[in-house]
């Protein structure tokens, strides 16, 4: 039983690596946007008072992590450091060490100016610790070995190591289920979601009205009611149906559509991409192989069909001559 559980970590390595890449890309993107405004957002005279940041760090007991943003160019330097660490994490360089450093960097930035963060930053916060522990360094990795690895070849040691990694994978998946389940529960408490009109209001909010299509689309009764209840049921069902083979792909497909819609019509970009990225962990290595085989098969069929069409066309041309 324990051995079976321990193997779970090894069966999700592709998904974990994909999620590592998605997360690193988003952090890199954020840092690129932060850099020109580093002083305004995180500097000594930033829009969030520096003294409050020091007070918060003191309150949490993290005085030793208080970065001196009050020094000139310190904010830009810190953004550059975070960018570099996330770049290393993207390629899995120094693996868990880089992961921990990235977590610390993001933590400091969050405390310095928590008001510019969004849902994607929260998701990163709650998933990164699991990602660091789990086996997410098997693919798309540039392995640097400055220090010779000490390998302990002991069955029980391996078992405990894999057990911890598998627990991290499960923790990650349960965390995502928690996010959806409690968001769904919160929605059920609101009248607008229950009477099926919430989409009308959310799509018309000024800050999130990303396209000129939002107004005409929300004039349609069917569009509003269908999408409101669809979102509600899908969010509520996610935590339960994601665990079964038969329903997993359907729920993931619906999730991609929902988040793509959120990005398209409400322009909440980072959150959409990070949530879609988390789905990769729910798919096992075996399922990735099967999926890859199917895609290759379809591609082969299309290629053969094209070749057949070309041969038929050539033959028809030959007959005409």
């Amino acid at each position: 039983m324990i051995e079976k559980f321990s193997n779970i970590s090894n069966s999700r390595t592709i998904g974990l690596s994909i999620y590592r890449i998605v997360l690193s890309f988003l952090v890199i993107k954020n840092m690129i946007f932060y850099y020109p405004l580093a002083d305004d957002l995180f500097g000594v005279n930033a829009i969030f008072p520096y003294n409050d940041y020091v007070a918060i760090m003191h309150l949490y007991g993290f005085d030793f992590l208080t970065y001196p943003f009050n020094i000139t160019v310190a904010a830009r330097f810190f953004i550059f450091i975070t960018f570099s660490v996330s770049f290393l994490f993207l390629f899995g360089v120094f693996k868990r060490v880089t992961g921990i450093l990235l977590y610390i960097c993001l933590f400091i930035l969050r405390q310095r100016n928590g008001f510019i963060l969004d849902g994607s930053d929260n998701i990163m916060d709650v998933t990164l610790p699991f990602l660091i522990i789990a086996d997410s360094y098997n693919y798309f990795v540039y392995d640097v070995n400055f220090i010779k690895k000490i390998q302990i070849k002991n069955h029980y040691f391996e078992l405990i190591k894999n057990y911890i990694k598998s627990t991290a994978v499960f923790g990650f998946m349960i965390q995502i289920c928690f996010v959806y389940f409690f968001t769904g529960l919160a929605k059920v408490q609101g009248d607008l979601w229950l009477n099926g009109t919430a989409i009308y209001y959310t799509m018309r909010v000024e800050e999130f009205r990303a396209t000129s299509w939002n107004i005409p689309l929300t004039e349609s009764h069917y569009f509003v009611v269908f999408n409101t209840y669809f979102t509600l049921f899908w969010e509520g069902a996610f935590a339960f149906l994601i665990w079964f083979k038969q329903t997993k792909m359907v729920i993931i497909f619906c999730g991609i559509i929902v988040h793509f819609g959120i990005w398209l019509f409400m322009r909440i970009d980072n959150f959409s991409w990070i949530m879609i990225g988390t789905y990769s962990v729910f798919i096992s290595n075996q399922e990735y192989v099967t999926l890859n085989c199917k895609i290759l098969e379809i591609a082969k069929k299309i290629k053969n069909n094209r070749r057949l069409k070309t041969i038929t066309l050539m033959y028809q041309n030959y007959e005409k001559k």
Binding site: D40, I47, P49, D52, F115, I116, A198, E206, E207
Partner: protein, 188 residues
């Protein structure tokens, strides 16, 4: 040498912000500022809308710029307002729990005024206002600067009236939930 007396300059910046609740309005930050110099009042009203040279824009540009600085600032303002609202709700709860006379609105307002000073969202809005005033003031020194930001609750036509013109403000209901002047010190 006779000491030169600086003219009294008071600049009042009004930032009106709409809460981004489910029922938000199509109005962005509408700012007006009035400056009083040597008792002559020169009042001007303008839409506080910054371009790229001002570094930090207001959320007015969010519709055209979905990523980047305007997007970040929009998140910042929304989070600050949310923080202020939560702070006010908690303060009211706290007041009703610990006070015998629950209907004493004067005491409640005093309590709210005290609690808002320590609120991170409020402090951040004031800090952001310093940015705004620096851009408008163009480095001219002022003896006292007051900032007023307003939080509106706005409701646009309900779902049953969805065919109404979305951009026509006469169909909207506005109510003010916060509107006060705060002095900004240590402007730099």
């Amino acid at each position: 040498m006779k000491k030169q007396i600086k003219p009294i300059v008071a600049v009042t910046l009004c930032l009106s912000m709409i809460t981004s609740s489910l029922m938000s309005s199509p109005i962005n930050d509408v700012g007006s500022f009035s400056s009083k110099s040597n008792a002559t009042i020169a009042e001007t009203k303008c839409k506080v809308e910054f371009n790229k040279t001002n570094a930090l824009p207001t959320i007015a540009r969010i519709a055209v710029q979905a990523v980047g600085e305007a997007y970040m600032l929009s998140k910042f303002v929304t989070s600050c307002l949310q923080n202020i609202r939560e702070n006010n709700i908690n303060a009211i709860e706290d007041f009703t729990k610990n006070t015998k006379n629950k209907n004493d609105t004067v005491a409640l307002n005093k309590y709210l005024d005290k609690s808002i000073i320590t609120c991170f969202g409020h402090k951040s809005i004031l800090q952001y206002s310093k940015f705004v005033i620096n851009k408008i003031n163009n480095g001219n020194s002022s003896d006292s600067i007051f900032v007023r930001y307003q939080i509106f609750n706005a409701e646009f036509p309900r779902f049953s009236k969805r065919k109404l013109n979305y951009y026509d403000l006469s169909g909207y209901k506005f109510s003010k939930s916060l509107s006060k002047y705060f002095r900004i010190n240590n402007l730099n």
